[in-house]
Amino acid sequence: MGNTADSASLNSKNQSTSFSKKLGAQIFCDVLQEEGVETMFGYPGGVVLPVFDALFDSPINFVLSRHEQGATHMADAYARVTGKVGVVLVTSGPGACNTVTGLATANMDSIPLVVITGQVKTPLIGNDAFQEADTTGITRPITKHNSIVKDVNHLARTLHEAFHIARTGRPGPVVVDLPLDVATSQAQVSNSGSEIDLPGYRVRYEGHIRQIKRAAEAINASEKPLIYAGGGVILANASEQLRQLVQKANVPVTTTLLGLGCFDENDPKSLQMLGMHGTAYANFAVQECDLLVAVGARFDDRITGDVKRFAPHARVVHIDIDPASISKNVKVDIPVVGDAKSILGEMVKYVEPRERKEWFARIDQTKRLYPLTYNNDTDAIKPQYVIEEVCRQTQGKAIVCTGVGQHQMWTAQFYRFSLPRHFISSGGLGTMGFGFPAAIGAQIARPDATVVDFDGDSSFSMTLNELPTAVENGLPVKVCILNNGYMGMVRQWQEMFYGKRYSKSFLKNPDFARVAEAFGAVGLTATKKDEVPKIVEQMLSEKKCCVVDFHVEREENVWPMVATGKGLHEMAGLPTGTSERV
């Protein structure tokens, strides 16, 4: 790749020990260490070679992906699993452009990332130089913040600011664009130069006490309250506070896709997931409750269905750290702006125990009438069955990643999550191909844990180029491909809404087991239902990356489903009859 001559000046190592001057590339490494970065992800290229040269002597573990998109998803999952900031380093132009999907994914799901992109030398910026792209321009709408460093004396400060912005408040990805000549020039080093200076960035963590009391009083007064918990509970590490509140106030809980695991799904008060493919009992509870307490969730259209008919009888409490989320989609009666952990912790003091016999009886009734179910009385392997079997053999304790589509929804429905930071999935952006690189990032974050990627054949095909990354790093990631030979969710929509005209939604797949073997991973194939338990057992015992190709029922659908424009209670595919029965 491009210009490497400038890196020659890096070879005199004594510069880094100089008190008065330091090289940009060295500042970069030092700031990362000051920020506690142990692992980062990325891919080298021309203009970031000086930085990579400095990293050569750094203790930071660098994971080389096979594509920059993979690197951002890995860092994203690393952040989701650990709660730390995920860090990515890529080159300019194509390298930066390839991070776009990963940035947008992290931005939609509020995941803290710092992505450093190389940039051409400052005098060349705007000249359409080799491998030049307007990275800050491209990434502006899909990041929490971004900036370009044009003066090496601002490098340390800008990097510290990036970490600060990424991890505080509502977290999100931050891009720092680093031109080649900034990395290769020397800065006057003084401590004052690296202090952050963000007069426009203030985060409020503590909720207003009056609002907290009002919210608690609303719960105390409610006959039929419901907590709707989202990814914000996990980001704020507020699961314990949520549990305490639920136990004390005696309130049922439903979670969003990204909220899975923030409340134990085995608890009788759990209604599992709500929304388009949520459980019938969660959706009915939303439509029938008189108080909806949203925590760290944003009333996304996949949650609300027809927003005009969403929770029609409920007053709404909304706890969120982002004031812009409040009353954006649904009018909120009692907003509480701040950190979920601190607010819920405070709220526990003011809620009172209440029996709510009728409400829980009603919930039990809908749970009995409309359980999550599927017909397993077939010869073919049902995708739901594979998920249930993996859940059983991992005691529901695995870190579970997914791609996007039917398999993702089935995983959300049939794997019973009990722990936060154990379900890693692209919720907001719905990024196909997220699952496998995410599993790699998760396994790097937690080498001891069992990491399972439930993937679709189409999703996995998008990022299976990261197989060598998993093999090279000795990561025992388990990939369960629920292979139906279709883009399953696309096919389901075409079946339901386009008269079964399966336009471009089926694909000729390779033999995934042999693909895996070719990359040095273990490849297995399951075609019969009765071999599933054994093959899952074998998969879980493998010490290296293992890909299992489950040939599942081809035209299985995800039920229940709230079609676009329908109210949450108008679910198709309920196990017995339709919603009219209620």
Partner: protein, 178 residues
């Protein structure tokens, strides 16, 4: 409905692109936008006239607040404001009609800044209604060209606190808290 919002921003590259990009991405409607320096060399002020209802305006204000280099957001809705727009307008006018035009110009306390055989160029400042009224009166003569700065505004009394009339849900934007 038109509302005036003002933002103090850090004087750094890309801030205007952030604001403009956010408006486009979130489907908000900008009527006018004026940017200029302030008494503090580190800060600029962006004055925006936005079209939308209460809910839209609330979102505009909150989304502006999320842009990191934006230091403060002021909502001037309901304030007693001095609002000014500056316009240069070139009116087609033959020499015999000049007295007529001059009368209008005087009435509006506007100023002739250039003159040619077939036109006059006039500078008008004032609130929007005044500018619009002036344009309407000039139309019969023929408006050859026109340029406006966009509205700038300042409250008469200094009671316009940033994000005035904060409801509790707006706490997060309240400045000077930490």
């Amino acid at each position: 409905m038109k509302r005036t919002i003002s933002a103090l921003v850090q004087n750094q590259p890309g801030v205007l692109a952030r604001v403009a990009g956010m408006f486009a991405a979130r489907n908000f409607n900008i009527d006018s936008l004026a940017v200029g320096r302030t008494e503090d060399p580190n800060l600029s002020r962006i004055t925006m006239v936005v079209i939308g209802d209460d809910a839209t305006l609330e979102q505009v204000r909150k989304q502006l607040g999320k842009i990191i280099p934006i230091v403060k957001v002021y909502d001037f809705t309901g304030e007693d404001l001095v609002q000014r727009d500056l316009m240069l307008i070139k009116i087609a006018v033959a020499s015999e009609k000049r007295p007529e035009i001059q009368a209008i110009i005087d009435m509006f306390r506007a100023k002739v800044v250039d003159i040619g055989p077939k036109f006059v160029m006039v500078e008008v400042t004032g609130p929007e209604q005044k500018i619009e009224a002036f344009i309407d009166l000039c139309r019969p003569y023929g408006v050859k060209d026109m340029v406006r700065t966009g509205m700038i505004a300042m409250p008469r009394h200094s009671k316009a606190r940033p994000d005035k009339g904060l409801e509790p849900d707006r706490q997060g934007l309240e400045p000077d808290r930490e």
